[in-house]
Assembly symmetry: none
Homo-oligomer: 142 residues x 2
């Protein structure tokens, strides 16, 4: 299970260090792709394959699900973890997520997300303000 928030930096070769505790789970291969809210999703290869087939199975009829599937499938790129625990993030994905230097890597159960640091801070503080309301609505679930 991936959890936690890690503040790392991209070097000018576009390399990003993966937090140590996640490396074993990603050693067998990983896939980065465009995610929601201008973040990148990073899945272990197996998880990705499950997700990809689900996406492929989505009905062609609806424009929005089709767009969503396109976004994720077309954006996907397989990456490998190098000897010092880093992956190279393709330029077009860095551009999509607005990544420059300071990024945040977050663990979200079955995937990692990569955010530009300032974007993450904004998103987090905005969500904090709303969290009580959301928690109330979720009261019966959580």
């Amino acid at each position: 299970m991936f959890i936690g928030e890690f503040h790392h930096t991209l070097d000018d070769k576009g390399r990003l260090a993966i937090p140590v505790k996640f490396r074993i789970d990603l050693a067998a291969g990983a896939v980065v792709t465009r995610g929601l809210d201008r973040s990148l999703f990073l899945y272990p290869k197996e998880e990705w394959e499950v997700l990809a087939s689900k996406l492929a199975a989505l009905p062609l009829g609806q424009a929005d699900t089709r767009a969503f599937a396109r976004l994720m499938l077309a954006g996907a790129m397989e990456v490998e973890i190098d000897k010092s625990g880093r992956v190279t993030v393709p330029e077009y994905l860095r551009h999509y997520a607005g990544l420059t230097k300071d990024v945040v890597v977050t663990g979200l159960f079955d995937r990692l997300e990569v955010w530009d640091e300032t974007a993450w801070k904004e998103y987090a503080s905005k969500t904090e303000r709303d969290s009580n309301d959301i928690a109330e609505r979720l009261g019966n679930i959580v």
Copy 2:
């Protein structure tokens, strides 16, 4: 079962002593995460796993529940109790809860909460004033 209120201090390495009576229940592993009202939640590992899978099961489609799940999952960090009964609270969580030196650890049945001392005092006195009203609203539950 966790109950009680304990006043401890964070040292400048971010370490926090866990009250003795709680240590056995947390020895198998514990998880700290962002809580509500600018506090931190600290769960025994098993409790956490139940909660985490509930959060992970929330639909990706809705922006607000997605944000809430993100905040709690990404905020979470597994901690271990060291030889002298302390856990290290990650910097970003200390920042979130506004923890500096004096903190309050409270037991809330299935979890602990960690508060900045002044924030706790404010919250407690406010809640005391409102307690009659709250009690009336809870009348049918308790």
